[in-house]
Amino acid sequence: MASRRTVVPFGPQHPVLPEPIHLDLVIEDEKVIEAIPSIGYVHRGLEKLVETKDYKNYVYIAERICGICSFIHSLGYCQGIENIMDIEVPERAHYLRTIWSEYSRMHSHLLWMGLFADAMGFENLFMNCWRVREQVLDVMEETTGGRVIQGSCKVGGVRKDISAAKLKEISAGLDKTKAEVEEINHVFFDDSTVIHRTRGIGYLSKDDAYKFGAVGPTGRGCGVAIDARETGYAVYPELDFKPVVETAGDCYSRCMVRAKEVIQSADLIQQAIEKIPDGDIEVKVKGNPDGEYFSRVEQPRGECIHYLKGNGKRFLVRERVRTPTLTNIPPLVKMLAGCEMADVPVIVLTIDPCIGCAER
């Protein structure tokens, strides 16, 4: 009569799960009734360190909050401090920061596409995505010195410059990368296996996505057209840019949003390289921050907010980082209700979890 319900614990250690999130799945005959999330396995307490580290040295901690979205964290932090202290950063530094941010975005989306293919069992596609990603990482290492942690953003500008000859080389290399990514995108969009495992799975309506706070490609795949790059930070007002939005609301459309954003990022980099002016790359910073500001940047996973508050001393009073994964967890809980058990890894991966960021 009353069918029996089992509780299956999923994670934090699981072969198909890339991030340490724990879900208690209440299951009735292969269908998931509800899911209860649990995080807290990699909490490092990084926000407390702001009270003991000089505000100029905190950039090194900010960029190590996450390994995949590292440059944009440091960009958000530096931007917040520069707005509190009214520092005018030179134009060339803004262009360089934008170029590195878009490379970061390409790297993150290619990594995600590989993991998504792996969650479905399509290992060959996973390896091919990561082979293209190596080209992006090579460019990052040549220009900044690090493959994932760049260390090139600082309060008042950037630390390393890229020569004009190098910029031309990067621009030509991007054409080759774009052709290879197009080939991979064809598989994601047209292959019958991929379509069978992602179409109709994990559906979220547009109103639900807006109300529960879905940001980034999770929201844009459901029709919610929010992109923090439109608020006009760095050099985005001068580039020709429109957010990529799909309306179907399932895993397939979110995958399409990310695949198209890789191509869009490559275009943005080529536009920025054409328009970059000459000049200095940094200004000297004197004094201490006094005031507060919410700095909003667009990470590959969504909108990230750095709240900074200073009171005139060398150490800041508070730095709060609200990452996109933290706000995408309620939509995940909603999406999991009513799905089959075999689809749980695909749905968990479709919000692009980055639990290291979420718990700091």
Binding site: N57, Y60, E141, T144, G145, G151, R159, K160
Partner: protein, 124 residues
């Protein structure tokens, strides 16, 4: 169906002709660039032991002793951020792109003992 076979055949021939995409590390050396961050090196003859590198280090990895004329770096703490390289007034610190081999147990502190100061004709 024919289109898929054609794409697959093209892919197979391309892979057969160009070889594997991976590098047999550690038998072959890894790919490094000039700007790659490896480890911090010091030219001890030019050092004046002012201690600016130690004050600017965000990870507190450098210890400088003016009386003993020694410069010590803790390799496990160093995050190769180049703050010390930028702060040094005599330009005696530099970043080399060689990645240090892993060790079995710590601590790993490299201590460099400086040369004796020249009497009265020290460059400043």
């Amino acid at each position: 169906m024919g289109k898929i076979t054609f794409t697959m055949a093209k892919r197979i021939l391309k892979s057969l002709a160009s070889g594997p995409a991976t590098l047999r590390y550690p038998h072959e050396p890894a790919k490094r660039y000039d700007a790659s961050r490896g480890h911090i090196e010091i030219k001890i003859e030019d050092c004046i032991f002012c201690g600016l590198c130690s004050k600017n280090c965000p990870a507190d990895a450098i210890e400088v002793s003016k009386d003993d004329r020694t410069w010590e770096i803790d390799r496990f703490r160093c995050i190769i951020c180049n703050s010390c390289v930028e702060a040094c007034p005599k330009d005696c610190l530099s970043t080399s792109n060689v990645y240090l081999e892993p060790v079995f147990s710590g601590p790993l502190k490299d201590k460099t003992i400086g040369t004796e100061p020249e009497p009265e004709t020290k460059e400043e």
